[in-house]
């Protein structure tokens, strides 16, 4: 039993095994330590898996030893490996950095349960990304969602509760739509394994249940991924969740749902529904453009710092969808690379917000007046993250902007509209990032508010690690770009 052969199973089993152990521990410090170690090992495994996938292509692992269509098979390809890196990386960094801010926001007696929930969210998300079985995706989606509701409900503010209730209702409705979608597809093909389903869907492709199933799956996952018209839950959920949770969720939770959406729409339906790409692009391109514009505009006029970044997340999800809806190799690569780059940029920004959150109680933009003098390193990290979000060359954001615009250029005339939208929203990003820079660097701290000291080193070091990662992947983006283009090639396997 070579260890590397068992790695896919270990990736999910490890956090699952530690969660019950951590749940009822007496010492909160110990629970944090155990969770961070588990998350770091999971990241290690993810790195090993990525190397294996880059080496030998898709990794298959039959759960329970049963062959594919009968048992549940795990299938990790480049796309899954990239998502694994994002999920485990985001969790590890959020845990390493978040200790100080979590100690403030969650009472110590509840922390063991909180960290158990964190591990379950990690297990659920990495489970979705690896599995090759449609219903299994639903089960792990429920695990990660329930754990996410719990983490968000941990927020100190009472409005976290109403926010999480709306998140629960919309999340469950989304998951049930997805369930109806799989049910209809299962009714027509008789199988739940994605690869098997894609093979058998050919002869029933033009029947009505398949079309409606595709619609249900797309709407359900769009709800889970907060795509534009269905994003109502995201701003409040990210605003009132504890800061460390926002770092973790913002970096990876919506992207996993987008991963499932792309896998279903391109892997299962693309080859078989003949005008699927027209329908997919025709349906999602306008939504993506609207998401980008509305998200950026809302962010410009927003006063609460975290909700501002949440609206900008909605715009960035629009970018990913924009890339995907170009239905071309370059477009998909752009969308997938932006998943990685956005995780980096938004991770840095929310980590900086966590640093500020440790010192200030209320996070409104005008509360930051003159903060740069007292917290220079934190604000510098925030500006660096902002620059990456805008897409200044030399940062990770620029690489995805570069691929997105060149993908749009390939589209000919509609491409020009896309470029205009991308450019306008980048400028809006400049506006809302610079508004904060001006307030922080040139505002004056009013007298009676107490002097604020720099954020603790335990929070600053991971933040700056992510900022440097942002610049590094801006200058040498070989890893994410190779993974993304290989993933795009496998997703578009049929069209090429």
């Amino acid at each position: 039993m070579t260890l590397t052969a068992q790695l896919p199973a270990l990736q999910v089993v490890l956090p699952m095994l530690t969660a019950p152990l951590v749940a009822f521990l007496r010492l909160p410090q110990l629970s944090w330590l155990a969770t961070t170690v588990a998350s770091a090992t999971a990241f290690g495994i993810a790195v090993l898996l990525t190397q294996a996938v880059l080496g030998t292509g898709t990794l298959d692992y039959a759960m329970g030893g049963w062959p594919a269509p009968y048992g549940i098979a795990l299938a990790i390809d480049e796309f899954g490996a990239l998502l694994l890196l994002i999920v485990t990386g985001a969790s590890t960094i959020a845990l390493l950095a978040g200790k100080a801010s979590l100690d403030q926001q969650i009472e110590s007696a509840r922390q063991p349960l909180f960290y158990a929930g964190w591990l379950l969210a990690l297990a659920g998300l990495s489970g979705i990304v690896m599995t090759g079985d449609a219903f299994n995706i639903f089960v792990f989606m429920e695990i990660s969602s329930l754990a996410a509701y719990m983490l968000v409900a941990g927020g100190p503010d009472r409005r976290a509760l109403t926010a999480v209730f709306k998140y629960l209702i919309m999340g469950t409705v989304g998951a049930t739509f997805y369930l109806i979608g799989i049910g209809l597809v299962y009714m027509m093909t008789g199988t739940l394994n994605l690869a098997d389903m894609e093979a058998r869907i050919a002869e029933v492709a033009d029947l009505k249940p398949i079309l409606v199933a595709a619609g249900f799956i797309t709407i359900g996952l769009a709800l889970k991924a907060a795509v534009f018209p269905l994003h109502a839950w995201l701003p409040n959920a990210y605003t009132f969740a504890p800061h460390a949770v926002t770092v973790f969720l913002a970096a990876c939770s919506t992207k996993v749902s987008l991963y499932v959406l792309l896998r279903f729409d391109f892997f299962v339906f693309q080859g078989n529904l003949e005008r699927h790409d027209v329908q997919f692009a025709g349906f999602l391109l306008p939504l993506a453009l609207l998401a980008i514009l509305v998200g950026s505009l809302a962010a410009v006029f927003e006063r609460n710092l975290k909700r501002l970044l949440a609206y900008s997340s909605i715009a960035q999800i629009g970018y990913i969808l924009l890339g995907a809806s170009c239905v071309s190799l370059l477009g998909l690569t752009a969308g997938i690379v932006h998943m990685f780059n956005h995780a980096l940029a938004k991770g840095a920004l929310f980590l900086a917000v966590a640093c500020i959150g440790v010192r200030l109680s209320r996070l409104w933009v005008d509360d930051l007046a003159g903060l740069a003098r007292q917290m220079p390193w934190t604000l510098a990290a925030f500006v660096a993250g902002g620059l990456s979000l805008i897409g200044i060359p030399g940062t990770a954001g620029f690489i995805s902007k570069w691929y997105l615009i060149s993908a749009a250029l390939e589209q000919g005339l509609t491409g020009v509209l896309t470029i205009v939208v991308i450019v306008v929203s980048s400028l809006l990003a400049v506006v809302y990032i610079w508004r904060i820079v001006e307030v922080a660097y040139f505002g004056s701290r009013d007298a009676q508010s107490p002097p604020v000291s720099e954020a603790p080193l335990s929070l600053l070091l991971p933040t700056w690690f992510i900022v440097i990662a942002n610049v590094y992947f801006g200058l040498v983006p070989a890893l994410p770009v190779d993974l993304a283009s290989a993933a795009a090639r496998s997703l578009l396997g049929h069209l090429l």
């Binding site: 805008i390 200044i392 001006e438 040139f442 770009v481």
Partner: protein
């Protein structure tokens, strides 16, 4: 990290210097010596490249490889060499001057000032030596961002508002227009490498070429061609060494240098000349020159007057480049140098006057000649260079531009140059005349003499350079004539 070490050193040395300055922030004297040492070392390294380039060599180097076929790579060619040499030389002079100015006015945040200065210079070096359009765009943005703290140095509400205009226009034009243009070129031609004779031949033609040129020229906001010039007067709120840096040494020169480089190495002179849709550039440049000069006439604040004069002078270079004749291209390059020397002298003078007696308005300058003879002498030489009177550098560059214009019988260019020379004279000479031959109408706050000695020393050096260039411009000419003669 491969290739010619001098180039990499030139780009990375100022960054090391910046770190050094930040580290020695608490001890001003040590910090100043680090700045000067870095500036000196940079000039040595850059000028050591000169003999190789003069001999026709094209040293190259590579830093990173972000996109598969698009490295962050450098290639030194005559135009870049000239700009780098100019920038590094004037940085020394500017550092000396800013020591005097900052000490004289007891400005706060001096460490941040010098750090951003060093980063801006590193970006300028990057732009000068850029081997492809991506590298150029990268350092172009770094330059914008590193100069923002310099412009917003004072930190009060008015400065912040003007700085917002500055960063807004520059970022909007670069992301809004230049980035799509770069991607369009990359998408159409498959490469962004600067190759003499241009890379667009056969890929983009007809009206599309005119549109691409429009995107490029107005995308490079730093060249301040008319509609996108608003940021330059807005940047006047910065302390004078910064304005000097913006106008003579780094930012504006980078803009104009980029446009010239695009025209020569991306579009190609003859390809553009043959294309009727690219004809509008000459009219845009001409309009900018005239309009700026006319607006400069009505200015009362000295620094805003210099700002508008710069917009005009810059469009000279664009005009020269737009004539699309080899001689005119040489004239453009030479004008970059001439204007640099002239304008930095004028700004140093303005700064000295402000440091000495806090005067900023033109009509306050009556009879100041007697109080500050050295400063006003330099100011006169600078003014004459702007107008283009023989002993100064300005004359040399205008001579070449006119020669280029006559070569292609471009009457629009000829008429513009002549009319603008007259306008320049109209707004510069009265100031000089009043300064020397009129009595003081405003009682000076204190019986002040000259500005602090480092400031005066710096402006005399640049004044001397303006005159010396008239005589010793042969090496620059040989360097630039390589543009015209095909590669050996």
């Amino acid at each position: 990290m491969t290739g010619n070490w001098q180039i990499l050193a030139a780009v990375l040395l100022p960054l090391l210097g910046a770190i050094g300055i930040a580290a020695t922030g608490t001890r001003p004297n040590l910090r100043e010596t680090v700045t000067l040492a870095t500036a000196g070392a940079l000039t040595l390294i850059v000028w050591s490249l000169l003999p190789a380039v003069l001999a026709g060599g094209r040293p190259t180097a590579e830093l990173f490889r972000p996109l598969a076929d698009l490295p962050i790579a450098f290639e030194v060619e005559p135009l870049g060499m000239l700009f780098a040499a100019l920038a590094s030389l004037l940085w020394i002079v500017n550092s000396v001057y800013s020591i005097g100015y900052m000490r004289g006015n007891q400005e706060k945040h001096q460490t941040r000032f010098y750090v951003c200065f060093a980063i801006a210079l590193s970006a300028a070096m990057g732009i000068a030596f850029a081997g492809n359009l991506l590298t150029l765009f990268l350092f172009y943005e770094v330059l914008t961002l590193s100069t923002y703290p310099l412009v917003a140095h004072k930190g009060d509400a008015a400065t912040v508002r003007q700085a917002r205009v500055y960063i807004g226009i520059l970022l909007a034009t670069s992301i809004g227009l230049l980035l799509p243009a770069i991607l369009w070129i990359y998408n159409a031609t498959g490469t962004l490498q600067f190759t003499s004779g241009g890379i667009l031949a056969g890929h983009i033609d007809g009206p599309a070429l005119g549109l691409l040129l429009f995107l490029c020229v107005f995308g490079v906001g730093k060249a301040a061609v008319m509609p996108v010039h608003r940021w330059l007067p807005a940047a006047m709120v910065a302390p004078t060494p910064v304005s000097a840096l913006l106008h003579a040494v780094a930012v504006v020169k980078a803009g104009v240098f980029t446009i010239t480089k695009l025209i020569i190495y991306v579009f190609g002179i003859d390809y553009l000349f043959a294309e009727p849709s690219a004809g509008w550039l000459i009219y845009a440049a001409a309009f900018t020159v005239l309009a700026a000069s006319i607006v400069a006439l009505r200015q009362t604040n000295l620094k805003r007057l210099l700002a508008y004069s710069t917009i005009g002078q810059l469009s000279y270079v664009v005009l020269a480049a737009a004539i699309l004749k080899p001689l005119a291209e040489v004239g453009a390059a030479v004008h970059i140098v001439a204007h640099a020397f002239g304008k930095i002298t004028l700004f140093f003078a303005a700064g000295a006057i402000y440091t000495a007696c806090k005067k900023t308005e033109i009509d306050q300058l009556r009879g100041i000649g007697r109080r500050m003879p050295w400063t006003m002498a330099a100011f006169t030489i600078g003014a004459l260079s702007m107008v283009g009177v023989p002993p100064t550098a300005g004359f040399v560059s205008k001579w070449f531009i006119l020669a280029g214009a006559f070569q292609s019988d471009n009457f629009v260019a000829i008429f513009t140059i002549i009319l603008s020379t007259a306008l320049n004279a109209a707004y510069f000479l009265p100031i000089v005349f009043r300064a020397w031959f009129r009595e003081e109408n405003v009682a000076p706050p204190s019986n002040h003499g000259e500005a602090p000695w480092p400031a005066v020393l710096a402006l005399t050096i640049t004044a001397f350079l303006t005159l010396a260039f008239f005589v010793g411009n042969q090496p620059v000419l040989d360097l630039e004539l390589q543009l015209v003669r095909p590669q050996p």
